[in-house]
């Protein structure tokens, strides 16, 4: 055989040998174990560490918050939606507490075309006047469940009992003095709640505390029913000193609970329309100073200046107490 043919065959043999041996070194070991891919990449991907940890991870330390959250209407929104992923927490420090809740909450709750009706939605411009949502709502259990006290009293019995109150609150519940509130036409549930608070000591007042302590539970029901049934006509539309226009702008922050003109949407909250200006201003100052205790009012009144309070009081005092409905 000619030499060059032998060389050629040797070369071909060499190539064949390399072609057989090289894949042993060049192909990744797990390739083709299950198919045309590297099987080891599956456990590699499966071994990545989860970043979101789920509420079960938060529960052990934040027990109280977790309990509150899981009992509330936000239980479908897990912790990490608002606080960020918990991987590395607590070792690497605290998780953020969202500051701009007006932006965060409206991601889900801004009234928007396309959102299903079952989703609770707000008209942002009319709802809170740009306040943070957390002023009124507890983000862990956001539903404002103002306990509506059941009032089933006897108005006639209430009228008899009201003789004790008439000196300050007026015979027909229209107070003769600017610093004492009108009671006529006020929401019964609110009256009953506030009287009970004076009685129990949750709320204190030099004049009201001893009087309320002398009342029985039935008396409270009767009084509340009686005053709620009275006409507030005599109180209507008081002319007041103060900047009504400024008060109206501020009152937008209160509208969600107290109604746009001070006629509360929920009977657990008081009507403010045509209330005494001095009383309103004092009440707001008391909330601000923490003398009257209410978590929601404390939050709302914290940012109000004395001028704001005067303007708000003037605005509500000037409204008609009768619902326009």
């Amino acid at each position: 055989m000619p030499k060059h043919i032998i060389r050629l065959l040797a070369l071909i043999l060499g190539v064949v040998v390399v072609a057989i041996i090289a894949p042993q070194f060049l192909t990744v070991d797990s390739f083709y174990r299950f198919g045309h891919y590297r099987a080891n990449s599956v456990p590699e991907i499966a071994a990545l560490e989860p970043v979101l940890q789920t509420p079960a991870y938060c529960k052990d330390c934040h027990t109280e918050r977790h309990a509150q959250w899981s009992a509330g209407s936000h239980k479908s929104v897990i912790c990490e939606v608002c606080h960020g992923a918990a991987l590395g927490h607590p070792q690497n420090g605290k998780l953020p507490i969202p500051k701009d809740t007006a932006k965060l909450c409206t991601l889900c709750h801004e009234a928007m075309t396309g959102r299903p009706r079952t989703q609770p939605q707000i008209q942002v411009a009319q709802h809170s006047g740009g306040q943070q949502c957390t002023v009124c709502h507890n983000p862990h259990s956001p539903k404002i469940a103002a306990a509506v006290a059941k009032v089933a009293g006897n108005a006639a019995a209430g009228k008899q009992k009201s003789a004790d109150c008439a000196a300050c609150h007026g015979e027909a519940g229209i107070s003769p003095n600017d610093t004492w509130p009108n009671l006529a036409g006020q929401n019964a549930a609110y009256l009953a709640r506030i009287l009970a608070a004076y009685k129990s000591g949750d709320q204190k007042d030099v004049a009201m505390t001893p009087l309320a302590q002398a009342l029985g539970n039935a008396d409270i029901q009767n009084l509340a029913t009686y005053y709620a049934g009275l006409s507030c006509k005599g109180a209507a539309g008081e002319k007041a000193a103060g900047n009504l226009a400024a008060g109206k702008v501020l009152a937008k922050n209160c509208a969600a609970c107290h109604g746009e003109t001070g006629i509360a949407s929920n009977p657990a909250w008081p009507k403010l329309a045509a209330q005494k200006q001095g009383y309103l201003a004092n009440a707001l100052k008391a909330f601000k100073a923490g003398l009257r205790k209410d978590p929601m009012m404390a939050g709302v009144s914290r940012g109000l200046s004395d001028t704001d309070i005067a303007d708000l009081a003037a605005f509500y005092a000037a409204q008609s107490c009768q619902s326009t409905k």
């Binding site: 040797a10 070369l11 060499g14 040998v17 390399v18 041996i21 042993q24 070194f25 990744v28 070991d29 797990s30 390739f31 083709y32 174990r33 299950f34 198919g35 045309h36 891919y37 590297r38 099987a39 990449s41 599956v42 456990p43 991907i45 499966a46 071994a47 990545l48 560490e49 989860p50 970043v51 979101l52 789920t54 479908s76 929104v77 897990i78 990490e80 939606v81 960020g84 992923a85 991601l107 889900c108 801004e110 009234a111 928007m112 075309t113 396309g114 959102r115 299903p116 989703q119």
Partner: protein, 283 residues
């Protein structure tokens, strides 16, 4: 001149060939010796694991599951927390054009034939969120006369016959035995063939890493008994996930109790994301 020049070249070639042959012989001998000697080599590792061992992890056997995903578009509120969670969970680049999951909004306006479609990457929506790194739908239709509007979450369909897998030239993407289409990022060469092939636009090229990327149904979570991140955070239950082999799993119930559709059934891809409450424009 020619001859003088070619002489050293010829010698060099001979030398090279001789060395190559020598190297090949040595390598062959080494492999042969190793195989004969029973020393564990490359080939030994490819054998099936001992009985009882599960794959891919010791607590998770992929032959026992067949994952599926459900989307109830009638529940979606367009809050985009799923998109946010996905970006965080999977380290998806924080920009407005790369997403493993996204949400589309379909709006029919009175008297208009064309349906308006936008997603979180629309400039108007980026403007509303204030940054490319945050996601929010702008309330852009609040003054329009809207006939009908709804949101539709989208993601990789983890098709039974995925054409992205078919076109991959390197075997870097594949379908697992439990029904998840994954990407082997060490084998991906970033050719974008799969990005082009996907009829759902579910893949993108991660320019930073030079590899294709897409939804994995959070394979690292589901193999540990967790839900995918997007399902975990959805506040309204618009996303449903589970094992189709378990007849009581959320996805099995979802498919059984609803009339479900898949996107673009005509492509023959046989998707495994099932939709409720979508219009013909979506499909």
């Amino acid at each position: 001149m020619k001859k003088e020049d070619s002489k050293p070249t010829l010698e060099a070639r001979r030398g090279f060939l001789a060395k190559l042959a020598g190297a090949a012989t040595c390598a062959g001998a080494a492999v042969g010796a190793a195989a004969l000697g029973g020393i564990p080599t490359v080939s030994a590792k490819t054998e099936a694991p001992p009985d009882g061992a599960s794959f891919p992890t010791k607590d998770y056997d992929w032959t026992k599951h067949q994952w599926g995903f459900g989307v109830d578009a009638t529940k979606c509120i367009g809050c985009l927390r799923c998109v946010e969670a996905c970006k965080t969970e999977n380290d998806v680049p924080r920009n407005a054009h790369q997403f493993r999951t996204w949400v589309e909004r379909y709006v029919h306006i009175e008297g208009e034939e064309e349906v308006h479609i936008d997603s979180q990457q629309d400039p108007v929506n980026i403007n509303a969120s204030g940054s490319e790194k945050e996601f929010r739908f702008a309330n852009r239709y609040k003054d329009a006369k809207v006939d009908k509007a709804f949101f539709v979450p989208k993601l990789c369909n983890h098709c039974t016959h995925p054409n992205c897998v078919q076109v991959c030239p390197t075997g870097a993407t594949y379908r697992t035995k439990d029904g998840v289409v994954l990407i082997d990022k060490t084998y991906c060469i970033g050719c974008r063939y799969c990005v082009q092939a996907c009829p759902y636009g579910a893949r993108y090229l991660d320019e930073e890493r030079g590899v294709a990327d897409k939804c994995t149904w959070c394979y690292h979570r589901i193999t540990k008994g967790l839900q995918p991140a997007c399902v975990e955070v959805c506040p309204v239950g618009a996303r449903v996930f589970g094992d189709q082999k378990d007849k009581q799993s959320p996805i099995s119930l979802f498919i059984r109790n609803n009339r479900v559709q898949v996107l673009r059934p005509d492509t023959g891809n046989a998707p495994n994301v099932f939709y409720v409450g979508i219009d013909k424009e979506v499909i």
